[in-house]
């Protein structure tokens, strides 16, 4: 179904990328792993957007860490949306 005034598919038309863990993400000693993870997420995000768009679906990310969510939203300009669902 379509949400009134929204125009994008909801319900089963949402394609989720759900991350769990990553409590170490901002640890000073994890800079190398953090960079590798960001590069991996960037690649996943780009492919996810392209695949979801080609299928007419709506792409969403979920992450349990509020600060990671704030960073990803800023880094990606809000697309795809990243929601914060604590684990």
């Amino acid at each position: 179904m379509r949400s009134p005034g929204y125009g994008l598919q909801t319900g089963t038309a949402n394609v989720w990328e759900v991350k769990v863990g990553f409590g170490w993400f901002f640890n000073p000693g994890s800079a190398g792993t953090t960079a590798a993870t960001l590069a991996r997420w960037d690649a996943q995000k780009n492919l996810g957007i392209a695949v979801a768009a080609s299928c007419g679906y709506h792409h969403l990310w979920a992450h349990p860490d509020r600060y990671v969510v704030q960073l990803l939203i800023s880094r990606w300009g809000g697309m795809p949306p990243v929601v914060n669902i604590p684990g």
Partner: protein, 277 residues
Amino acid sequence: MNDSATPGRLSRRVLAERAAPSLLDLAPGLMRVCRTVEQRLAAHGPWTAGDPGRSIAIEQGAIEQFLQQVMRARGQGFPAVCSFTATGGGDPLLVAADLEPTPAGALASVWFPMPEREPAGGWLALLHDVAEGFGAHHAHLEADDLLMRYQGRRATERARAATPPELRAYIPDPPAFVDGMNLDLLVPQEYDRRQVPAGVWWINYWDRAQIATLGEGRVRGAGWAQVVEAAEGALLLTTTDEPLDLANRAHVERLRLLIDNLGLLDAQRHARYESSG
């Protein structure tokens, strides 16, 4: 800490961008960036490429072969990572690259984390070498705290607008900043950043086209700590003599002044894509 919400959780990167129709076009530039990293950051091979990493020589042919593998994997639906890691030093150093479609054509980026130690020759020399080695139209030293100040509010608006209503409550507010100074800009996905810089960072490399958009006299006279000429009309622009620190109110005021003097937000609005919402 300026941002009360994210103490101790921020990182910094060196980032450069250029127009490129395909990842394959990046091989010479990526080779030069990796060599710059070796020379200025004392990062050592052996190098690996991708995730998981496989051994690679930092030579154009080997990089082209790897980029072809990345493109092939992505074409088959796998989110292959385009990265190179110098594994021989104390801490592995990752250099990541990617290609982003935009309404103005594909833009390629390369980035790597800024290490704690100062590079050989200083940060300005590092940024210069990365920008010119990559063939960039723009490069800067990016910090997450400043990224969130520039883009957090607008990006959160866009995220909420693109989220089904029943899920919008799960989009957190952007970080709050205790100094109360407004540094809001558009997000780079909204406008042609080939023409307009995405922000003012500690050290910035802007090519002739970006400078022309803002006006060369306006750029040179905006109030920089240092302006250094680079090749083909590009400029290296330093905001503060010491590393930019958003906990220092004078630094935030300097940023506000530069953004205002450059008319940066208006320039971003002027270069906005019609479809950006």
